[in-house]
């Protein structure tokens, strides 16, 4: 984790977090599959949720993937780096013990309701108390 000028937008020094993760997911096939006749695609995303002194609730999407009906329903991703920069709004990542990573998905039908589902499993990740200075990412 580093403290850098948030170059994606606000020009203030904010905490930038680096997270590596594995994802194994098995979208059921067959009779009870989430991919029924009316499901066009799933939009999966991994989000980090945490609290800081500045903000009571923070959510940052670290990674996302579009899975179309017919794509391989098994996900076995290892050592993934986040797709998007994990900038905090401020310096709330340093020493933050409780960052919760959850996998959720948006079901996109051929026509009809657009539900947002959150996976029941989640992982808690703590950030160290000091900044990294030399690590290459």
């Amino acid at each position: 984790r580093k403290n850098v000028e948030d170059f994606t937008g606000p020009r203030e020094r904010s905490d930038l977090g680096f997270v590596t993760f594995d994802i194994t997911a098995d979208i059921l096939n067959g009779k009870n599959s989430i991919f029924d006749w009316n499901v066009k695609q799933l939009f999966l995303y991994l989000s980090a949720e945490y609290s800081t002194k500045n903000n009571a609730l923070n959510q940052v999407v670290l990674w996302d993937k579009i899975m179309l009906r017919g794509d391989n329903p098994r996900l076995s991703l290892k050592d993934m780096k986040s797709k998007y920069f994990f900038f905090d709004d401020g310096n709330g990542l340093k020493g933050n013990r409780n960052i919760t990573l959850t996998l959720s998905w948006n079901v996109v039908p051929n026509a009809g309701i657009l539900p947002l589902v959150t996976g029941s499993g989640h992982v808690s990740v703590p950030f160290p108390d000091t900044y990294e200075t030399t690590k290459s990412y």
Partner: protein
């Protein structure tokens, strides 16, 4: 001298089918015209009432919107129709598809929320990005604006129908089509006779 025109017209049979249209026009008197116009006005008023009702029920100023760009493909394509709600107590959360307006611009944009920072007092600021775009929407916001707020939100996408909105896009891009459609509708309503 009173000429019983009405009676004569009733007993005269329909002479030739292709002359019927002009026959109708000639025979239609003012009262029938007013009746048709009122009928038409009633249909328009009902439609407006249903639209206002939807605005009240959903809490959104524009409960049905048409997707204009391909920035949310492959989920939504240009011409798809989206149904929105905008309940005051609904929190804005990462992953949700929101329709928002940039200050000073009329055109609503449909994208996904990718970052949320909410304070204890309920103040929310969030960032959006189109699924099909490489970068987030900061380039689309106002000069110097880095976040969106609740007031910029028109609604949250809750449901959708493909292709149906294409009619609106065609009418926008080809105004002649819009006028032709209106002319046909007007002619139909005014000339339609209830037997």
């Amino acid at each position: 001298r009173v000429c019983p025109v009405r009676g004569a017209a009733a007993t005269r049979g329909r002479a030739r089918p292709d002359m019927d249209l002009f026959g109708d026009l000639r025979r239609m008197n003012k009262r029938q015209l007013y009746y048709q116009v009122l009928n038409f006005a009633m249909i328009v008023s009902s439609a407006l009432m249903i639209w206002k009702g939807l605005i009240v029920i959903t809490g959104s100023e524009s409960p049905i919107v048409v997707v204009l760009s391909g920035s949310m493909e492959p989920a939504f394509h240009r011409g798809d129709l989206l149904f929105l709600t905008n309940f005051h107590d609904d929190p804005i959360r990462a992953g949700e598809i929101v329709v928002f307006k940039v200050e000073g611009r009329d055109i609503p944009i449909v994208h996904r929320v990718i970052k949320v920072h909410e304070k204890g007092n309920g103040n929310i600021k969030f960032l959006t990005k189109g699924d099909n775009n490489e970068v987030d929407d900061r380039g689309l916001y106002k000069e110097g604006q880095n976040w969106l707020e609740k007031k910029d939100v028109v609604g949250r996408a809750r449901g959708f129908l493909p292709y149906v909105g294409m009619v609106t896009i065609i009418m926008n891009d080809y105004p002649k089509f819009k006028y032709a459609l209106l002319a046909v509708m007007g002619a139909y309503v005014l000339l339609k006779r209830e037997s």
